[in-house]
């Protein structure tokens, strides 16, 4: 099973990085979302994979549990990455509304013209 999880992480990272390198804001946001999935799953997987070993203590005697620490880290990471995505969305929306383009790279000629005006 590890190979599947690892390859999924790899695929999402690759997709995320590729989209991150696009030239418009929306694909970059998508890329960031993909990359945060990959990072979250990666962090989660650092606690090793386990099935039916939820970190909920059993009242009925001895049981083995999976590593809860990465889960706690990832839980907050998911919420925080939502916050960051939202900020990024707002910034890119603002940039688009102010400049009428959602291109992320500063076009040299365009800024020169602005300066000339």
């Amino acid at each position: 099973m590890e190979i599947l999880v690892a390859s999924a992480i790899g695929a999402m990272t690759a997709g995320g990085v590729y989209l991150l390198l696009r030239l418009r804001t929306f694909p970059v946001i998508l890329g960031l979302a993909l990359l945060s999935y990959a990072v979250n799953v990666f962090l989660f997987s650092s606690g090793r994979l386990a099935i039916d070993m939820s970190p909920i203590l059993s009242k009925y005697g001895e049981a083995s549990y999976t590593d809860p620490l990465p889960q706690a880290l990832v839980l907050t990471a998911i919420v925080i990455s939502f916050g960051m995505t939202a900020v990024l969305v707002m910034i890119s929306l603002g940039a688009f509304l102010e400049s009428d383009t959602d291109s992320i790279d500063i076009d040299q000629t365009e800024t020169d013209e602005d300066a000339a005006q």
Partner: protein, 953 residues
């Protein structure tokens, strides 16, 4: 070692404390500023002198306070003979300069600022000579560079002043950087940054293979500070400073810092061939070259500046000789040079002040007009020339004596001959100072009518001139302090006897040659001057400016390449660099054998994997259709939540699924205002490049994850599992970690989330006040609006769902401590319940019914979490320590009350507030984009039709 050194702290601090006063009372006038500068200086000097008897007896006063012991940095000071000599010079001349500057500066200058800078500089200098820790010394060293920058550039309106200040800062600052490196190496060799330890470890230092790099780096610092060739060029340009600054910094104190450092480090670094050849040769070259240039300078201050360069060279050379007698001569010359050169600078300042020119070619005959200035200037200049009965003669004799029996690379003549030439040139320019300024006929074309200055201006140089004569006639007066300082330099117990007549020695012959030769040279000055002016000489400032320009151009080119404003390039560079670093780490370390078995692949996971990978590939290939890509992102998120459920992470699954929902809503909202398609504009080559980067990065991360999962490492996780119930009172270990074990982290995270919410709100407001609002109003979003925006079915269903959803949220919150759930998830679930109302019944309708502002929720959330944490203090336990108890209230089952629950409530409120504020802000934008305001929940309300009988409202 009996005297307490605690007063040393006060001495070192006094100038800094005093520096505050003149700066604050800038309007109080020159007298007040000068007085308040003199008071801390005088107090420090008096305190210092209370130590003088003990230090003269060979005692070393020490005081130490640990500052950053981890770095080996302590605020420790010590006072020995060398420190005492320099500290007395700094404070004594400081007093004289304070007086002199009071009369020199005009009422229009910001005098308070001047005195503040002066005291800052004085404090920094004192720090250098008193530090017992080389790191502390470095701090003060840099402070002198900074404060001298402020002083040189004091007349901000003069471009020369600004350029000179910049040049001085660049050169001395660069030297300071080199010295930091050298000092760190030194500290490493010795294993201590304490000067006292370093000075005793001279043998270990000289034997170390790092000796030469350390020596060169430290000498770079000293040479730049003391204006040694080839770094001498900044000093003449620093002459743009007001004359009191030149007299103080550039003759008496700062430029001597390099000499002080070499003297200080003498026991640790000297005594090797490297030391001799580097230091003595540099000094010798600087001495001769500086004197030669000084002879042909027409600006009085430039002449004195190059003469200072020359004399600093002399001091450096003496220290470079590495003999005890040379050290005595160096220490003695430090005192003598201070007296005559400060007096000369002040004289030059007086002449400038009275005649409004410093150009020697426009002066002459001043002895009749300014007899007092003539007297002072002549005494000082004769001392500089090394004429008997003035103190300059004594130390110059000692220097020539040392030079006469120094062998340089096998040659017995090189050093004595060059030293004599240096002395000869020195005589020539000193005589020139007297002859061309004061002697000769009175002229009638001075820019101003010269006369002797008021007492305040001539008092300080006169006092120095008296010292020049006193020491010159009765050199034994200086015996004590020279002995103490020289003993401190060499570490040996020296008792020199300074006297005028040494008998007929080689030094005397050399002196006679120098005086006669100098006089002859001066007679030939006019024709030589023409030759000098016409000769092609390398201009240091031009070279320096070109060098700086080249460096600036280089960095600009580098910046232009790497920072072209294209964030995609930065991201590409960042990704490639990360992957490269990972590859280096991987190849460097080697991989241990896997220690864990591989889990089998169940069918359900295989299906999920296929979905995930297909969706990922589809997002990448179809990202131009933005709606489609968003749906695919949703699929990926849901698949991951399912994976979390399967792999024993129920809390993560709950969080992921609810975050996924709000994320998609958020992106949908944003997409309403953004273009719906991404244009296909990337060139093919770029796609290939990005594809390669992406695949390599993905393979790297995937490989890392795979390698990681196959190996066991020791973790602290078992602690959490074992203590969750007894320590935290909950069986859901993840939740207990969040609200208890790692509560501080969570607290920080909800604050970040709250800030993100507020940031979005603020951005929205900024946006709606700017040109974006106009654009929004004019854009036509009507065509992609549904005819029935608020359908009946949806309104009714969401109304019914609302209490159910809220109850689920509360349930998830309450059980969170023991079962999957908790504040994070509950906040998200309740947020979704509210968002449903916004979506179904419209923004305005929902907004009307909203009683609590979302900002308030965030604030309350953070406050509740914080107060819960702080409540632990009441019980004398650390922040965020939780406690819990079990309550039995019939007929309800026994339940638990934990303070962690209250903390979780804070988390819940913050998450709810932040998420709602984010989506609310985005929705607000829609109002500006011309959305109609709906006060009715439904566009088409069947109930109203029945009542008023009309078909269409």
């Amino acid at each position: 070692m009996s005297t307490s050194g605690n007063l040393l702290f006060l001495i070192a601090l006094l100038p800094f404390i005093g520096a505050l006063v003149p700066g604050l009372m800038i309007r109080a006038g020159r007298n007040a500023c000068a007085s308040f500068t003199a008071v801390p200086t005088a107090i420090a000097l008096i305190l210092l002198l209370t130590y003088a008897p003990a230090v003269m007896d060979g005692e070393v006063i020490q005081a130490e306070v640990n500052w950053l012991p981890q770095l080996g940095l302590s605020a420790s000071f010590f006072l020995d003979g060398l420190g005492l000599l320099f500290a007395c010079m700094i404070l004594g001349v400081g007093l004289l300069i304070t007086l002199y500057a009071r009369f020199y500066l005009s009422g229009e200058d910001p005098v308070g600022q001047f005195y503040t800078y002066l005291l800052l500089f004085q404090g920094a200098m004192l720090g250098i000579v008193l530090s017992d820790n080389i790191l502390l010394l470095l701090v003060f060293w840099e402070l002198t560079s900074l404060s001298s920058f402020l002083l040189i550039g004091y007349w901000k309106h003069l471009p020369e002043g600004r350029q000179g200040a910049r040049m001085a800062l660049t050169v001395t600052g660069a030297g300071g950087l080199a010295m930091i490196g050298g000092m760190l190496i030194l500290g490493n060799i010795v294993g201590s940054y304490n000067l006292t330890d370093i000075l005793q470890a001279g043998d270990a230092i000289r034997a170390s293979e790092w000796y030469l790099p350390a020596l060169i780096l430290i000498l770079l610092g000293a040479f730049t500070k003391s204006a040694q060739f080839p770094f001498h060029f900044w000093l003449p340009h620093a002459m743009a400073a007001p004359t009191p600054v030149s007299a103080y910094l550039h003759s008496a104190t700062m430029v001597k810092a390099g000499v002080f450092l070499m003297a200080r480090m003498w026991p640790a670094l000297s005594g090797t061939d490297a030391w001799f050849y580097i230091v003595a040769t540099t000094g010798l070259v600087t001495m001769v070259l500086g004197a030669l240039i000084a002879l042909f300078k027409d600006d009085l201050k430039a002449l004195l500046a190059f003469s200072t360069v020359s004399h600093l060279g002399l001091l450096t050379m003496l220290l470079g000789f590495g003999t005890e007698a040379a050290a005595v001569a160096a220490v003695f010359h430090v005192i003598n040079h201070l007296t005559f050169k400060a007096a000369l600078f002040m004289t030059a300042g007086i002449i400038d002040h009275e005649t409004h020119t410093r150009d020697i070619k426009r002066l002459g005959g001043l002895r009749h007009l300014m007899p007092l200035t003539f007297l002072i200037g002549t005494v000082a200049a004769l001392s500089m020339a090394g004429i008997p009965l003035f103190n300059g003669f004594l130390s110059k004799e000692m220097m020539l004596e040392e030079a006469s029996h120094t062998t340089w690379a096998g040659s017995h003549y090189a050093v004595p001959v060059l030293a004599t030439i240096g002395a000869l040139l020195s005589v020539a320019y000193s005589f020139r100072f007297i002859k061309h300024v004061f002697l000769g006929p009175v002229r009638d074309d001075y820019p101003a009518k010269p006369h002797d200055p008021p007492f305040g201006l001539w008092a300080a140089p006169a006092l120095l001139a008296v010292l020049v004569v006193l020491i010159g006639v009765m050199p034994f007066l200086a015996d004590g302090i020279v002995a103490a300082a020289a003993s401190a330099v060499t570490g040996a117990d020296l008792e020199p006897h300074l006297k005028i007549w040494h008998g007929v020695t080689p030094a005397l012959y050399m002196s006679v040659i120098a005086v006669i030769g100098g006089a002859v040279l001066l007679m030939m000055h006019a024709p030589l001057d023409k030759v000098w002016i016409n000769a092609r000489r390398p201009e240091a400032k031009a070279i320096f400016d070109r060098l700086i320009a080249a460096i600036v151009a280089l960095t600009q080119r580098f910046t232009a390449i790497t920072h072209n404003g294209a964030i995609s390039r930065y991201l590409a560079i960042f990704t490639v660099a990360s992957v490269a670093l990972g590859a280096i780490a991987f190849l460097g370390g080697g991989l241990s054998e896997p220690t864990r078995g591989i889990l089998p692949i169940p069918a359900v996971i295989a299906v999920g994997w296929v979905m995930l990978v297909v969706a990922t590939v589809s997002v990448v290939t179809m990202h131009h259709h933005r709606f489609r890509a968003l749906v695919l992102i949703g699929i990926i998120g849901l698949t991951i939540s399912a994976g979390f459920v399967y792999m024993s992470a129920p809390d993560l699954a709950l969080t992921q699924i609810s975050v996924e929902t709000v994320t998609i809503m958020l992106l949908l909202l944003a997409l309403h205002f953004l273009p719906k398609e991404t244009p296909k504009e990337s060139p093919f080559g770029l796609k290939i490049r990005d594809g390669i980067i992406a695949v390599v990065a993905g393979a790297g991360v995937g490989g890392l994850a795979f390698a990681f999962m196959q190996r066991d490492i020791s973790t602290i996780s078992s602690f959490h599992v074992e203590n969750s119930y007894e320590g935290g009172g909950g069986t859901n270990v993840v939740n207990v970690i969040l609200v208890d074990f790692r509560g501080y982290d969570t607290y920080g995270e909800i604050i970040v989330l709250g800030i993100a919410g507020l940031l979005i709100y603020a951005l929205m407001h900024a946006l709606l006040d700017g040109p974006a609002a106009r654009r929004l109003r004019n854009a036509d979003y009507a065509q992609d609006r549904s005819k029935d925006r608020h359908p009946l079915m949806m309104v009714v269903v969401t109304r019914v769902l609302m209490p159910i959803a809220l109850m689920v949220g509360i349930y998830i919150f309450l059980r969170g401590h023991n079962q999957p759930g908790g504040g994070f998830v509950a906040g998200l679930v309740v947020a979704i319940a509210l968002l449903m109302q916004y979506m179904a019944s419209g923004f305005a309708w929902t907004q009307d019914r909203q009683r609590i502002e979302y900002h308030t929720l965030i604030g309350f959330g953070v406050i509740i979490a914080g107060v819960t944490g702080a409540g632990a203090w009441v019980f004398g336990v650390p922040f965020l320590t939780s406690s819990y108890t079990y309550v039995h209230l019939p007929p309800i089952e026994e339940f638990e009350l934990a303070t962690a629950m209250l903390f979780d409530l804070g988390v819940f409120l913050t998450v709810l507030g932040a998420v709602m504020l984010m989506l609310y802000s985005l929705s607000r934008i829609a109002r500006y984009a011309g959305s109609t305001v709906n006060v009715e929940p439904m566009d088409y309300d069947p109930a109203s039709r029945v009542e008023d009988g009309s078909e269409v409202r």
